[in-house]
């Protein structure tokens, strides 16, 4: 897939706080000269906003993929994007993919808080597309998400899936601290057998199941392999058994949290 690569200029002294206009579906069709003139919002220590050409070396050509290289963790990257691929080589700030509707965001490092959450002015978080985070994610990942998938190879912070409406969150490692708090529907999958899942009694355990009994788990695991989620291959094995927790019992009680039991010998 072709597209532009924006490489952060090492000489930059100021970093913008708001990267929300950096979307492959809007920027990818621009010619290089127009792209360079594109304003970047709210530069942290400048009185006026800078342009992409001021902050980045721009290479490549129009296309559906936009790559950010070596940039500081900008907030709001991929906000409301509808298609294309946003590749962040490095870390992303907060509100990654806020209210995105489609396409793929891949972060080779970690992401801040509220990935996939509502953008300013929106009631709903992401409604489609995929966010794949190779490192860790912050608090409230997938907050109020409506559809789509967030996959994290590492750990995530507090309350993934807070007030989740639907969609899928997959966490590769570590404990889950109050996952799915006030979720209505949706699926949260921990890939880490034995990690603590603290639900404060809002979820009830329904038992342990083969993936052949709940085939959607197989589809999701295979999809993670296709998306290149960088976890241990064993974590994406289809032959594992998963424990189901249903809740939030204080809400619609149609959400689910899945966690594998120990891998069969």
């Amino acid at each position: 897939m072709s597209g532009y690569t924006l490489t952060w200029r090492a000489s930059n002294t100021a970093a913008p706080t708001d990267g929300s206009t950096l979307r492959p579906d809007t920027l990818g069709s621009l010619d290089a000269a127009t792209l360079a003139q594109h304003p970047v919002n709210a530069c942290a220590s400048a009185s006026t906003s800078a342009t992409l050409g001021d902050l980045f070396n721009i290479t490549g050509a129009p296309g559906a993929r936009l790559t950010l290289r070596n940039a500081p963790p900008l907030n709001g990257l991929g906000t409301r994007m509808k298609s294309g691929e946003l590749i962040i080589e490095g870390n992303a700030g907060g509100e990654l993919g806020a209210s995105m509707a489609g396409g793929l965001i891949r972060v080779t490092g970690s992401a801040g808080h509220r990935a996939g959450a509502p953008a300013v002015g929106s009631k709903r978080g992401m409604t489609g597309g995929d966010i794949v985070i190779h490192g860790n994610a912050g608090d409230f990942t997938g907050m109020r998400m409506r559809r789509g998938c967030i996959a994290i190879a590492g750990t995530c912070g507090k309350s993934p899936g807070f007030r989740m409406i639907a969609g899928t969150i997959i966490v590769g490692a570590g404990a889950l601290d109050h996952p799915g708090l006030e979720m209505r529907r949706g699926t949260i999958i921990s890939l880490e057998a034995g990690a603590e899942i603290a639900t404060s009694g809002r979820f009830a355990e329904d038992g342990v199941f083969d993936t052949s009994a709940v085939v959607v788990l197989r589809l999701l695991l295979r999809r993670m392999a296709r998306l290149g989620l960088p976890v241990d291959r064993a974590k994406l094995e289809l032959g594992r058994r998963y424990r189901l927790y249903s809740g939030d019992r204080m809400e619609l009680n149609k959400g689910e949290i899945w966690q594998p039991t120990a891998y069969p010998a």
Binding site: R147, T168, R185, T187, F209, D210, S212, A213, V214, V215, V216, R218, L219, L220, R222, R223, L238, K254, E256
Partner: protein, 305 residues
């Protein structure tokens, strides 16, 4: 024309416009794939009396299948999209949802609604069996319904694609006796089973009671094909060559003329052997079905010098 010693009659098969859909069915192992296929394709030989004509197009390995379990591609043919829309949810609900461990996927996922194609609701209708406990998951633009059942969940595609297709490609294997003709017919069906985009919907792929249009009985629109019945040789305008003691018909439905032609060629070639006297084909004079498969054209390259 002859292929080896076998006479190829100068006949043509007359086939008709039908609509086709494909389901991919997976299960926990091959045994349950077989059971599921048997059940859902049962009572699916002919739209003369069944709601659809059904058969296994091919087996699917675990590696190739959508969920990493073994499966099969099953095809269903009916007169039109409306008939398929009635038959499919019934068959899936009664025969696949009931079968242990199955999941059902759309076998034509790229098909959209046009003049020549349609989307048929399947999971969208069956989901209500979940009585409010059903869930769905939309992946890559396709919605899968998850219906809670006693062995876990039944996963079924919300809808499946259907396209204009062709039904009724055929050829008749005329042998010295029942054993010889049947062996030849089985060879033919085995060869056809290797090919994509086609099914042979009759029992074992073979018809013993080939029919003709019309009957002396007003209420019947089809009746025994007396011209090919060996016990009626002296009492009807028989088309049987000397020495023919039994005839079997292979009926082939497929997505395209090319697919059916390839299947007829492969099937006829495989049927050639000891005890086979002639190959013919069934038609209605050419005025009913718009797809004609002329045996001499199909087999020109195989014919004896």
């Amino acid at each position: 024309m002859k292929i080896d010693h076998v006479i190829i009659d100068d006949e043509f098969a007359e086939a008709f416009r039908m609509w086709a859909a494909r389901l991919i069915v997976t299960a926990t192992d091959e045994y349950w794939v077989d059971i599921a296929a048997q059940e859902v394709c049962g009572y699916g030989s002919s739209v003369i009396g069944c709601d659809a004509e059904a058969g296994v197009e091919r087996r699917i390995s675990a590696e190739e299948s959508p969920d990493g379990r073994p499966g099969a591609a099953l095809m269903f043919f009916a007169f039109n999209a409306k008939a398929l829309a009635k038959a499919l949810p019934n068959r899936v609900g009664q025969c696949l949802m009931t079968c242990p461990t199955t999941a059902v996927y759309d076998g034509m996922p790229d098909v959209t609604t046009t003049e020549d194609s349609a989307r048929i609701d399947v999971g969208k209708l069956i989901r209500f069996f979940g009585d409010g406990f059903q869930k769905s998951k939309k992946l890559d633009g396709k919605r899968h319904w998850r219906i809670p059942v006693m062995d876990g969940e039944f996963l079924v595609a919300e809808s499946v694609g259907a396209i204009k297709a062709i039904g009724g490609g055929n050829f008749l294997i005329c042998g010295t006796d029942q054993r010889a003709a049947l062996d030849a017919a089985r060879r033919a069906v085995t060869a056809i089973a290797q090919l994509p985009e086609v099914i042979t919907p009759f029992p074992g792929g073979i018809v013993r009671s080939g029919s003709k249009v019309g009957s002396r009985y007003k209420k019947l629109f089809a009746s025994s094909n007396d011209e090919y019945c060996p016990t009626l040789r002296s009492r009807t305008k028989s088309k049987l060559h000397k020495g023919v003691g039994a005839v079997y018909e292979i009926v082939i439905n497929g997505t395209t003329q090319a697919a059916i032609a390839a299947a007829m060629r492969a099937g006829i070639r495989a049927s050639i052997g000891e005890g086979v006297i002639s190959i013919s084909a069934g038609n209605y004079g050419g005025n009913l079905g718009k797809f004609h498969f002329k045996l001499h054209e199909l087999l020109a390259e195989d014919a004896n010098g």
